[in-house]
Symmetry: C2
Subunit: 155 residues, 2 copies
DNA sequence: CAGATTTAGTTTCATTTGTAACCAATGGCA
DNA sequence: TGCCATTGGTTACAAATGAAACTAAATCTG
């Protein structure tokens, strides 16, 4: 007969290396750090600044609020990143004629240049990571992340 | 005839919402924050401390070095987390007779209690997240994350 | 249109985190 | 054995982050 088994306690079940939130955290950190290492010092750009550049590079004329929404950064982080970027003349701010609180932001030519130079580095890193997966797996990954992102919204 | 198309530049190809490192970062943050919110205040425990508790809960008698390896935290983070846990009498340190620099760490009964109370909360959050996926997708996810973790190691 | 409320964005301050320097113990090794 | 390099861990300092308070403009409401 089968040996009588006690049901494992939650504490016994929780193995850090198998715990999804932990795994995601390690993965995200490894990837972000590796990529940031390639541009952070070379371009004197933080990750939040990079995100602002990336989004303005594709959609010029956003306000800080819109950038915050697009990047999922909070408004303080956006404010700081934009301030540094404006200071560095990588982003230009012009007044919004309809609302004096808002500023319409867009990349300067220097900002465009940063964008154009970092984009291939970022994409190459992503591609390098994705070489671990075949085409089918990449599709699966996209789908799974979409589902998890959605589920995590309501956690 | 097909219209002549210019090859898109990298800057045009890089869409933040589709960029894997960005997606992973958002996902990881959402998940970690949601889970931490459930225990951080209630147990006065930071994420690094929680990781130390989790690993010591399953493998008592580790040194700080070993904890750092097991959790992928750097030694400073471990040192700080352990210091707070010892202070709170959740972790006990005893001298290693072979090497005076090392301390053998393990959970106190209070630490065990924290572990036993948080484990089900953490697992429940993970399960809740995973309800978005069916059994097959969960397997795929595990496999994909393993591959990416491995690939990210050498980025 | 006056006062209250909301919104966009910034500043301030406390906490967290990361890096580097440091200290003490150990392990070569000549 | 005596010196040097390495290792385990902590400390100190700077930079990043987050929460809350704040400013100023816009909007709502009576």
């Amino acid at each position: 007969m089968a040996s009588a088994k006690r049901k494992p306690t939650p504490a016994e079940l929780l193995v850090l290396e198998d715990f999804l939130p932990y795994r995601l955290s390690i993965l995200s950190n490894r990837v972000s750090r590796a990529i940031a290492a390639r541009y952070a010092k070379a371009f004197d750009l933080t990750i939040p600044e990079w995100r602002v550049v990336a989004v303005l590079g594709r959609r010029a004329g956003l306000t800080a609020k819109e950038i915050a929404e697009a990047t999922e950064m909070d408004k303080v982080a956006v404010s700081r990143a934009v301030a540094r970027l404006v200071e560095a003349k990588r982003v230009a701010a012009r007044a919004d004629r309809d609302d004096a609180r808002r500023q319409i932001l867009s990349l300067t030519s220097q900002g465009e240049s940063v964008h154009a130079r970092i984009a291939p580095i970022a994409l190459a890193s992503e591609q390098r990571l994705l070489t671990a997966l075949d085409a089918r797996e990449r599709e699966q990954l996209d789908l799974l992340i979409d589902k998890l992102l959605d589920a995590a919204k309501t956690l």
